[in-house]
């Protein structure tokens, strides 16, 4: 634990070293190359991204898609928890069957079908990411339910708690922290899926900027969008973590 903490404290030094190396190597030593763009050109390319690649719209499209989907899937789990608790419900069988399929059929393949069925819909990305996030969270919910400490339920039941109070105040609260941790774990994965989905589908989103930049052979745009994506994923992760520690804490 202490080793991991000290490593994370050293990360900014690594980032500064990479930045200095990049500036030194690609601005002065190798200004013309096909590996990484010149820093000065990257700074200039932000203007082009804004105008030519419609950065604000595409950026907002992906950010909204990812976080709206996370929020929807979280609240779906919250509202369906009383059903998910019942182990012999049809919805549980449905989720279990889809989880079984997803072991052999990657979720991205299902995404291709969505693109085929709804090629022009702006909602397709949201539906896809929500689907992936929901089934992952539902699966996590099931696993946590199996590992739930029965003593909490026994105590509450003996105090006179009814099934609604046990579901809302005991089972959900007991599982909620691990659900939030799971959202943090899959946060980067969902971002990756959203970008690949948009890349294949086209239309709007950061993925479509990547596609355009590759089509135009625009290394500086590719680099700039990568930096923007990394900064956004970093900020998003910490925002989700902040919400988790602020509202779902045990100490």
């Amino acid at each position: 634990m202490a080793a991991a903490e000290s490593t994370s404290k050293r990360i900014p030094y690594f980032l500064i070293t990479y930045l200095v190396l990049w500036i030194a190597l690609f601005e002065f030593v190798l200004p013309i190359n096909k590996i990484l763009p010149r820093p000065s050109i990257v700074i200039l390319s932000f203007g082009d991204l804004w105008k030519d690649y419609r950065l604000p719209v595409n950026f907002l499209s992906t950010v909204t898609g990812v976080y709206f989907s996370i929020a929807v899937s979280y609240f779906l789990i919250f509202f369906l928890k009383s059903i998910l608790i019942k182990k012999d419900h049809l919805i549980i069988d449905f989720i279990t069957s889809l989880n079984w399929f997803s072991r052999y059929l990657p979720g991205m393949v299902m995404g291709l079908f969505l693109i085929y069925w709804f090629p022009f819909s702006a909602w397709t990305t949201i539906v896809f990411i929500t689907g992936v996030a929901f089934f992952s969270l539902a699966s996590k919910f099931g696993t946590e339910l199996n590992h739930l400490d029965r003593a909490y339920i026994d105590s509450a039941k003996s105090l006179g708690a009814d099934s609604k109070a046990i579901s809302n105040k005991i089972i959900w609260k007991s599982i909620q922290r691990n659900i939030a941790d799971h959202i943090l774990e899959m946060h980067g994965y969902l971002w990756g899926l959203a970008i690949i989905f948009e890349f294949i589908k086209g239309g709007s989103g950061l993925g479509s900027i990547f596609k355009q930049a590759l089509n135009y052979n625009d290394l500086s745009a590719l680099f700039s969008v990568s930096v923007i994506t990394a900064v956004t994923v970093f900020a998003g992760f910490h925002a989700v973590n902040f919400i988790k520690t602020k509202f779902i804490h045990w100490n």
């Binding site: 009814d162 922290r177 100490n251």
Partner: protein
Amino acid sequence: MSVLKLENISKFVRGYAGSGQLILDDLNFEINIKEQANYVTAVLAPSGAGKTTLLKIISGVEEQTSGKIFLQGEEYKNAGGLVPFIPEKASSFPWMNVAQNIKFALELKYKAADAQKLNELISFVGLTGYEDHFPDERSLGFRLRISLARALAVAPKLISIDDPLRNLHGETKKEIKQLIKKIPEEKNIPLLIATTNISEAIEMSDEIILMKKHPGKILGIIDLNRELISGKNQKYIEEVKQQITKSFAEQENSQLVSDAGIK
């Protein structure tokens, strides 16, 4: 006055492929509060005798396969709130702080938590000043205090506690013993305690129910003379210990925890 009466309580747990196990076999006993007794009843049995199952059935957490339970003369099927059960690990809810844990129980009983009642309970279990502390990663003694306050919050007829002293040591064990004894003394609420330790059963209770295992069955009930025990009458205490040991020896139960706490 009859606090609790069990009539022909049995518990059978069905296993896979038609197999099953009889956990409790036809238990019959009655807890009667006598004058000038505090009233603590200990269920003394080796591990695996079904003590926890018995406590859970009495608390309404589990259902018996057959038999009837009477609480203060009335038969009940769902004991919710009448007999709070405190598990061995004293499961105070880790996502709630001390005050919230107790409020949870007060709200179950009274719909709203009265601040005075809350403070009185916190003070009774010795947690004043720790109201906003979370039980997660705190000692078992701390969590047990919360669980006891929560149990008291629902104004129960009886509290069942599963081996409360088993994992406690030193000063904490002494303090928790005192706290447990304080409940019947000051709140007039009888306790039913499961234990594997002969000395603790004698020290804590007014009456001991002896159980054997495979399946759980009552071997006998020993009424204790509280005055002699409080006066540390070693001769009497030794006699009771011998009586208990003899009963278990007859049943060839070797897993009972000895005085020294050695299995």
